[in-house]
Every structure is written in C-alpha cells, then in structure tokens.
C-alpha cells in the first residue's frame, strides 16, 4: 500500500501502523521502520465537550518558541538575542504596517526583508525604526502599493531623506531592484481622499489620462510623483466641476503649493493644454515635449542670444547709455583683475600678475571693488526701467537676464586672459614641485607681497586681538577657571587625565601551532581575573614548558581511562630515560568512567575524612586516576623529591556533576608547587572555573564552591589534590 519493497523478502505488502509508529512487512514480519513521526492530527475531547488538536504549535521562526518542558515562567529565558531582535522587528513591522493598512502578505515580505537585513548586519548603526520603515517601503515598491516614503516618514516623524538613505542602502545591499515609481498608482488613493463622491471613478480616470499625457511630455522624469498627481487631480477635478482649491489638494498630496503651481504652469506650456476638454478626451497628440527644465534652459540661452543680437544691432538709446557706462567701468568690475585689465593690453596684464604687485595696486583694487559694488547696485536698481525701455522679450528685473545683458564682449576676453595667466602660473609652479616631493615648501610662483597683505600688521593685530578678547571674554574666563581647577587637582593628586580614546582595533586571531602556545598567547592578551596569581600561573607554564604532551592530553579528555592507563604503562616502563618519563607524567590523568572512579574513590575514602564526611555524593569525589600499575612502576622516581618538586605534574581531576552529566576537570599542580597552586584557586568558584577553563581550554559547566585538599601521600601514590564539589 505504500509502494515500498521489503528489504528482507522483497514483498510489497507493508503495513504501516500509525498508532505504534512502525512499518512491518506482512510477508516476512520484519520491522522495516519504527518510531515513525506521524503526520496525522489527533483530536481530544476536552471536559467541556469541545475537541482540540493534540500537540503544540511550533511557529516557523525562532527557536524561542519551541515547546519547552517544565517552562512556564521565564518566557524569554532561553531565547537567543537574534530571535528577540527578529521578534521585536516583527512586532514593529506589524504595528507600522497596520497603520499603513498593508495586507498580511506585504507584512510577511517586509519581515523577510528585515530578516535578510539583520542577517547581513545592516541593522547595525541604524535605528530599528528606520530599518523597518525602509523594509516596509521596499515592499510597497515591489508590490506596487500606493504608499509614499513620505507617509512612512510622517508616521515615524523622521526626515524623509534619512529614511531614503536607509532604503537605498537596503535596496542596494539586498540586491532588490525596486521598479520605478509610477505616479498613476497614487491617483486612486488621492482621489479617494479628495472625496469626489459618485464621480470618483470618472475624475480619477481623467486624472490618469492627464498623467499619461504629462508623462509623455516629459514632465514626470525627475519629479516627485505626488506633485504630478496633485496637478493632474486638480485639473481633473476642475474638468468635472468640482471645486477643489490648491490648498485642499496640497494637503492631500503633501507637496508645496509652489511645486503644484509650477507643475500646472509646466502643463500649461505643453500643446495638450491648448485643447478643449472634449478634444483632450478624444485626441492623442503625437509629439512629445522636451523636459520643462530643458526648455527653460533653452529659453534662457535663446534669450541671451536675442539680447546679444539686440545689443549688436539696433540699440536703443538707453542701452547705448548703459553700454557706454559699462565700457568705462568694465575693467573695474573684475575684482582682483581690475587694476590689471585697466590697461586693456594682454601683455601688461600677464606681466603684472606674474610680477610683483606694489601697494599702489592694492589701493587701486580697493577702489575698484568699491566702485564695482556701487555700479552693480546702480544697475540693479535701474534694471526694470532699462529693460522695459529696451523692449526685450524677457521678463523684466531678472538678475540673470541682466547679467547676460551686461556680459557681452569684455568679460570673455578678460576671463580668457585670466585663465591663460593662471595656466602659465600653475604650469610654472607645479613642475618643479613634483620633483621636490613633500618636505620643504616650494616657493616658486608665490608672491610674498600679496600674502603679506593677508596678514595684519601689528597695530591691526592688536586691535583685532582686543576685539576678540572682549567678544570671547566669557570663554577665556572659563578656560582660565578650568586651567586653575586642573592645576589644583593636580596638586591634590586627584586629577585624572583624559586618555584619548583607543581606536577599537579588532584583535588578530591567535595564530599558534600548538594549543599550549595558543593559551599562552591568549593569557598574554587579556587578563582573565584579578584574583588569579599570574606569577604562579606563569611559573606553572614555564615549568611544564618543555613538554608537548600536555596538548596530547587534551583530546584524550573524552577517551576512556582504560585507554589512558594502557598508554601510560609503556611510558612508565620506559622510565630508564627520566626525561621522557617526566614528560609522560606531566600528562593529565583523566578518567571519565564511573567504574574507574568508584575504584579510586575506594582507595581514597579511608584516608580522607573530608571525603568521608560526604557520603551522600560519592561521585563528586575527584581523584587522580593514576592506575596502580603505573604508580608501582613509578615508585623509584617518587623517591626523588627534588625532581618531584621541580617538575610539575598536572593531574586532571574529574568531577561528576550532580546529575552525572557534566564532567568538569581541574588541573592542579602536584608536589610542593601545588600549595602555591592551591592559592591559585582561592578566588570565587567562577573564577576557578574560568581560570581552569582558560588554562585548559575545555568548556566547563557550573562548578560548585570548591575546596582543595591535599591527600596524604600514602593513599594515592604521589601528592594528589582532590577538588571537592
């Protein structure tokens, strides 16, 4: 029935029992599968008579919601930070999304974007609200909902450009290509807000048609869609005999009044606006307009040309007068070049620019700039009259137009000259500079006299200093007070110098060939606890420094004691070479098997009253796990106390946690050293475990309050330290 084939007999008649959760071949009876996870839903009847599904709902996201046994309180206890972040994000997205009236699908998509952003660490350094708004807007764009970024910024009370920045970053980093905004999307929404009643549809249709036309006339590129919508809706409303003021429209579409007016005038300039309403509804004009800004630019250019033509051709008497005045004052109008251009000859200008400028020039310059100012003021004041009189087509009183009117011949010439001069100066000066590289300042092409003019003379400086001092009297007083205070504090010795902020450097990953080296480096890098006697620790590592065996021991942690003892035996038998045997003894003795422990514990109990006092927890007793055979062989060595003292035998003491699951291991030095060693562990239990952890690199579960005991020599062969839980 399942279409499967029995492995045993090849029969196809396999029975699945959902209740027991196994699959059995009915032909041969072999159980093909057991503990099948059932996919059926079971229902139980509750006391009230209703039925409910058995089981627990496990949501898709977040391990935090996995059913926990015996939980209940501490809701967020086991939850990861990431899961919490996501949950918060989800909540915010829902909150904001509901305000925008987005549907569930959009919210889910937004949440997915948010998850992506979180996993890419794009939320770092940004406000949660901004990221969430950006996610939501991203969805609005991809789904084409009529929401603007402005709406979100309205809700959050955040600057729209700030949101825009976040949005752009998210779109770029997540590689989401949001389609360009179509202003047509917003028409129904705005139309609804403008309350056209029954004619809502017709008005929006007209507005859409207007909008299409505007798009074809290039009014829409580079423009905010809402402004365009506003203009289209306003016109459409008027076309359908609705009285909607500009104010009403702008309050809906949220653009400035002048923007809307500008759009309307732009639309006025297109040929479509010349049609009657009926014509507009029927006729589609073929041609496209240039973008309004482009036409505006072109018009400006044309105006300039017209003005030029006018000035060169028939010149009205007013213009003539202006020209004459201009001619007389033109050289002065060019600021820095005024004195130079006065002569009108290029050679003069160049030579005087390159050469020295004397004080006379300075005076001239000052006079020129003064005159220049007056002249401009005069001209600006005279503008409307003159240009009207001239009959020029452009609107009167526009500064740019005037500028163009004033600009014709001499400017270009003088500009060209100045450019060429500048060029020759810079080319002169830049070449030798490149050779000299950095270091001494190359002075070529720099005239000190002019620079001197930037620097005030003594009396001027004094006046300025006085003024400045008066202006900043309060600040100076504060500074003095501060200095006095610091001096005082320094005297008292309580002054704390503000250290410059250390630039947060990422620590280089520890590169070490062996684990021991790695630990050493790590210890060098950071002090783990102030309660650890580091000098002892260092002595410990230096004493055991020669042996590479400590690293070997680490992986053996999980190995069985028997394996260890087997390994040890050959080591100790080869004790002829003391160095190697010492080395071997440095290896921590590890036992993980309860059976072994029981055996060693037996040996310990009579000799250690401390252990005997805790009969309730025999497993907690930790003993060096050295097998008997090993010690028997080692006895000869034990008789040399000096050697013992010198060397450091690290014995791994193992503890069984209360429930037997966790096996914290401590390394304690043996021999006289180990009394110092004990002092190592006198801190808080946490630090003990931390220290041990850091020394060994093993992960430790909770370590209870620990006490160190040295066991009598006799019980366990060498000086053994037991760490009691």
């Amino acid at each position: 029935m399942t279409g499967r084939v029995c492995r045993g007999c090849g029969g196809t008649d396999i029975e699945l029992d959902a209740a027991r959760g196994d699959a059995v071949c009915t032909a041969c009876g072999s159980v093909l599968e057991d503990n099948i996870i059932v996919s059926e839903v079971q229902f139980v009847e509750s006391s009230g008579g209703g039925s409910s599904a058995v089981g627990q709902f496990v949501s898709l996201d977040g391990a935090g919601k996995t059913p926990t046994l015996g939980g209940g309180f501490h809701v967020n206890l086991g939850k990861e930070s990431r899961a919490q972040t996501l949950q918060n994000g989800r909540r915010h997205i829902h909150h904001l999304g509901n305000q925008l009236q987005l549907n569930q699908h959009c919210l889910d998509t937004a949440f997915n974007f948010f998850k992506m952003a979180v996993s890419r660490h794009l939320t770092r350094g940004r406000k949660m609200a901004h990221v969430i708004a950006a996610c939501l807007y991203l969805v609005c764009r991809t789904e084409g909902t009529p929401h603007m970024l402005l709406d979100l910024s309205d809700l959050l009370q955040v600057n729209v450009y700030v949101l825009g920045k976040t949005f752009l970053l998210l779109a770029r980093e997540l590689c989401i290509n949001a389609p360009a905004i179509d202003p047509c999307l917003y028409i129904p929404r705005f139309a609804h807000l403008l309350e056209f009643g029954e004619k809502n549809h017709e008005v929006s249709m007209t507005a859409l048609r207007l909008l299409q036309r505007m798009k074809r006339d290039w009014m829409h590129t580079g423009r905010r869609p809402s402004g365009l919508c506003g203009a289209a809706l306003l016109v459409a409303a008027r076309m359908h005999d609705f009285r909607r003021t500009v104010k009403e429209v702008i309050s809906v579409v949220k653009v400035c009044e002048s923007t809307l007016r500008k759009r309307l005038t732009e639309f006025e300039d297109t040929p479509t606006s010349q049609l009657t309403i009926d014509e507009f509804m029927k006729i589609d004009l073929e041609e496209e307009c240039d973008p309004p800004s482009y036409t505006a630019g072109q018009r400006k250019l044309r105006m300039k040309q017209v003005v030029l033509a006018l000035s060169s051709g028939e010149i009205s008497s007013y213009q003539d007068a202006i020209e004459i005045e201009l001619e007389s004052s033109r050289p002065k109008a060019k600021g820095g070049l005024a004195s130079l251009a006065k002569d009108g000859s290029v050679e003069d200008t160049a030579s005087s620019l390159c050469g020295e400028e004397d004080t006379e020039d300075e005076e001239l310059e000052a006079a020129a700039s003064h005159l220049n100012k007056d002249l401009y003021r005069e001209l600006l004041g005279a503008t409307p009259g003159s240009s009207e009189a001239a009959g020029s087509p452009q609107g009167s009183g526009r500064p740019p137009a005037l500028q163009s009117l004033l600009d014709p011949l001499p400017t270009a010439a003088s500009l060209g000259i100045s450019d060429s001069i500048r060029e020759c100066i810079s080319s002169q000066s830049s070449d030798p500079k490149d050779a000299s590289g950095d270091g001494e300042l190359d002075l070529s092409g720099i005239d000190d006299l002019e620079i001197d003019r930037y620097i005030l003379n003594e009396s001027e400086a004094r006046v300025k200093a006085e003024l400045w001092m008066r202006e900043n009297a309060e600040y100076l007083r504060e500074q003095r007070e501060k200095e006095a205070r610091i001096a005082k504090e320094k005297e008292l010795g309580i002054y704390k110098e503000h250290k410059p902020k250390k630039s947060c450097k990422r620590r280089e990953p520890i590169q070490a060939s062996t684990a021991r080296e790695a630990i050493e480096k790590m210890l060098e890098q950071k002090k783990i606890s102030s309660k650890i006697n580091y000098s002892v620790l260092r002595g410990l590592s230096s004493a055991g420094g020669g042996s590479p065996h400590r690293e070997d021991a680490r992986p053996q942690h999980s190995g069985s004691a028997r394996k260890l003892s087997r390994r040890r035996t050959p080591a100790s038998t080869s004790a002829a070479d003391p160095v190697t045997s010492m080395g071997k003894r440095l290896r921590p003795l590890v036992s993980t098997q309860p059976a072994k422990k029981a055996a060693t514990g037996e040996g310990l109990l009579p000799s250690s009253p401390a252990l005997g006092a805790e009969p309730a927890r025999p497993q907690a007793v930790l003993v060096e796990s050295g097998p008997v055979s090993y010690h028997a062989d080692e006895e000869a060595e034990e008789e040399e106390p000096d050697e013992e003292d010198g060397e450091l035998c690290v014995s791994a003491l193992q503890m069984m946690g209360g429930d037997g699951g966790a096996c914290p291991v401590a390394l304690v030095p043996r021999g006289p050293l180990h009394w110092d060693g004990v002092s190592l562990w006198q801190g808080e239990p946490d630090q003990v475990s931390a220290c041990v952890c850091s020394t060994v690199g093993w992960a430790f579960p909770e370590l209870g309050p620990a006490a160190c005991h040295r066991l009598p020599q006799g019980s366990s062969k060498a000086g053994t330290v037991a760490l009691l839980l």
Binding site: Y161, L168, R223, G335, R422, S429, L441, L456, K464, Y475
Partner: protein
Amino acid sequence: MDADSDVALDILITNVVCVFRTRCHLNLRKIALEGANVIYKRDVGKVLMKLRKPRITATIWSSGKIICTGATSEEEAKFGARRLARSLQKLGFQVIFTDFKVVNVLAVCNMPFEIRLPEFTKNNRPHASYEPELHPAVCYRIKSLRATLQIFSTGSITVTGPNVKAVATAVEQIYPFVFESRKEIL
C-alpha cells in the same frame, strides 16, 4: 550619430578638494588674530581661511591638517595649497608642506541630448538608482573608479570622483549608456 562618434564633451570642473599636512601644531588663535582673511570657529576648533588667486577656501585644524576647497583644477589646488602654506609660514609656523593629496573632484558635463531616466535606470540596474521622491537625478556609481554620477533628465551630468582623471574616465564610460537611453529626435 553613434555612441562612439567623437562628440566633444566639455567637462567643466567646478571644485577640487585637496588636503595637506604641515607637520606642526598650529595655534589657531594666533592665526585668527593675525590674519585678515580668516574666520575662527572656536566651538568647532577650526579656522577658515580664504585666498584670492586661486580663489580657494581652506579649513585649518590645529593638528596641522588643512583642507582646501574651491579650486578648479588639480594644479590650481596645489598652487593654492602652497600659497596657503606660505601664508602660514609668514604667520610664524614651522610649516612643512607634505602629504598633499587631491581627495575629491566635482565636475559638470552636458550631454547634447535628453535622457530617459526610467529606461536608463532599468538598463543599468545594480549601479543606477532613481528615486524621484528623493532626488530628481539618477545616481550612478562606478565602484572601480570610486566615482558617482548624477544624471539628470535634461542631459546634464554631475560627476564626483577622487581625481580629474577618474572623473574624465567616468564620463567616458557613462556616455554609451546614456546615449542608449537618450530621447529620440523626432
């Protein structure tokens, strides 16, 4: 007219920003009180100094780092920076002119045609971004050149880049793309 016809494009450089170091501590108050062309911003801890010829504005920090803006060519920027260093020397500082570097160049360029921004954005997706709600121009980034171009529908392009050469290359690179989505002349 095709994309690689030699249309002369005028790239008008409007701003060059450069930095240099003086390798000496600068007493800002002294500069402020003895210079005629300075603005001292005490609360920020900087002095603004303006020069004519070349017309640049410099931001002077007490650490000796100086940022010059307003030049219209790299040579001019350097010339201005040297003049600035000279005027600091005249003010009595032991100025050494080092680490001169042009950091940013802003240029404007006008295409002889209009550009269809939506189309252009669609064709150049990962690099170009067009958000009329935020900015009227398409923002086009060229990572390799570290240049950013703002492309307007009228055909004007604003380019920022680390140096003049990068700016010129950026314009060269962008030209075929914008040419593709230009407005057809009817």
